[in-house]
C-alpha cells in the first residue's frame, strides 16, 4: 500500500472561494478515480507554509499509476496546481510538497472530525549511512508510539519517506534523497485534544529522540463529501 500526502501554500491574494475549490477538487478525487482511497483534506493549523493538506492512499503502485494518468488528474487537479497552468492558485515550490511511504496496511485511517498530526523528520545530515538512519527511525517509532499513547493519541505510524522521489510511478527513485527522510503520523480524537496534548511529543521529545530537524502539520480530517 502507498500512503501519500500533498501540501499546498496558496498564492498571495488567492480568494477564499478558490481555496475551497481546490480543497473540493482534491476531496472529491475518489469519486472519479476509484484507485484513490482513504481520501481526505485538512487545513493546516501550524506555522508551516503549507496551508492545505491532501491525504490519501493506493492499494498498490499499479493503482497509483492509474491515478497518474487519469483525466481527472490532468483536467481538474493540475488545473490549479501545475506551475504554468493559467488558473494555478498555489505556490509551485513552497510548503512540504509531496511525500509519503509504502506500508503493509492502512493503520493510519482516521474518521472525519478526528485530528491528524504529521511530522516530517530528518534524523541525520544528508548523506548519512542509510542503515544508521533506519535504525534510528525504528527506535523512534517505538518511543513515539508509547509517548503518543500516553498523550491520548489514537494512532501512531512512522514510515520512510519513499514517495517523495518515486512520485512518478510509485516505485522508481529519481533525483536526490528527499529532504525529510521519515514521516510520523499521529491521530487524536479531535483538534482540541491534539492541541492540548500534542506538545508533549513536540520539539523537546523529538530532539531527545535524535531528530535533527522537523516540520509539523496539524489538521482536522474533513469529510470529503
Amino acid at each position: 500500500m502507498i500512503r501519500r500526502f500533498e501540501t499546498y501554500a496558496f498564492l498571495p491574494g488567492t480568494p477564499e472561494q478558490m481555496r475551497k475549490r481546490l480543497a473540493e477538487v482534491l476531496g472529491h478525487c475518489h469519486r472519479y478515480i476509484p484507485e484513490v482511497i482513504h481520501n481526505a483534506v485538512g487545513w493546516n493549523d501550524t506555522d508551516s507554509p503549507s496551508e492545505l493538506v491532501w491525504e490519501h492512499a493506493y492499494e498498490s503502485a499499479e493503482a497509483y499509476r492509474r491515478y497518474m494518468v487519469h483525466p481527472y488528474h490532468a483536467d481538474l487537479i493540475d488545473r490549479y496546481v501545475l506551475p504554468d497552468a493559467p488558473e494555478r492558485v498555489v505556490e509551485p515550490i513552497t510548503g512540504a510538497g509531496l511525500f509519503g511511504y509504502h506500508c503493509p496496511e492502512a493503520s493510519f485511517v482516521l474518521k472525519p472530525g478526528e485530528a491528524r498530526r504529521v511530522v516530517l523528520l530528518r534524523f541525520e545530515k544528508a548523506g548519512a549511512e542509510r542503515g544508521r538512519v533506519e535504525g534510528r527511525a525504528v527506535a523512534f517509532a517505538g518511543a513515539a508510539s508509547e509517548a503518543g499513547k500516553n498523550a491520548g493519541a489514537i494512532m501512531s505510524v512512522v514510515g520512510t519517506n519513499t514517495l517523495a522521489n518515486t512520485w512518478f510511478d510509485g516505485e522508481t527513485p529519481h533525483g536526490p534523497p528527499p529532504r525529510w527522510s521519515h514521516i510520523w503520523e499521529q491521530g487524536y480524537g479531535d483538534l482540541a485534544t491534539l492541541e492540548e496534548h500534542g506538545s508533549s511529543t513536540g520539539a523537546d521529545f523529538l530532539h531527545e529522540q535524535g531528530v535533527e530537524r522537523f516540520i509539523e502539520l496539524r489538521y482536522e480530517v474533513l469529510e470529503p463529501d
Partner: protein, 124 residues
C-alpha cells in the same frame, strides 16, 4: 515572433488524441512580451518534452480590449501527457517560464479536449 492577429503555424500539425488548450488574456501592450516568452521559452520546452504544437492564435490587438491568446498542443493520450508533464516539472527552466508568463497575463484557462465525432447531413 508571431504577428498579433495571425497564427503561428511553424511545424504546427493537428493530431488525433488529447489536446491541451491554454486560453489566456493579456493587455495589448503586454502581447509582444507574452509571445516572446512563448517563442523563446515555453514552446521549446514543450516541444523538447514531446508535445506537438497545433496552433498559436491571438485575437485582434487593436480593438480596445484585452487580447486573447490561445495555444494548443496535441499529445497521444493521458499516459503520454503524464510523461511530458514529468519532463517539464523536472526542468528548472519550466518554472522560470511559468513565472514569466504568469507575470504578463491577466488570467486564463487550461482545458484538455478530446476528438469528438458526430455525423452531419449536408443541407442543399
Amino acid at each position: 515572433m508571431a504577428t498579433p492577429g495571425s497564427s503561428c503555424d511553424a511545424q504546427a500539425v493537428a493530431r488525433p488524441g488529447l489536446h491541451l488548450v491554454d486560453t489566456v488574456v493579456v493587455e495589448p501592450d503586454q502581447l509582444d512580451g507574452y509571445l516572446e516568452v512563448l517563442r523563446s521559452q515555453a514552446i521549446p520546452l514543450y516541444q523538447g518534452a514531446g508535445a506537438t504544437l497545433e496552433y498559436l492564435r491571438t485575437s485582434d490587438a487593436d480593438v480596445g480590449e484585452p487580447v486573447e491568446v490561445q495555444l494548443a498542443w496535441s499529445v497521444a493520450d493521458n499516459a503520454r501527457w503524464n510523461e511530458i508533464r514529468r519532463t517539464l516539472v523536472l526542468d528548472p527552466l519550466y518554472y522560470e517560464s511559468a513565472v514569466a508568463l504568469a507575470s504578463l497575463r491577466l488570467g486564463g484557462t487550461r482545458r484538455f479536449h478530446r476528438d469528438t465525432q458526430i455525423e452531419t447531413t449536408a443541407t442543399p
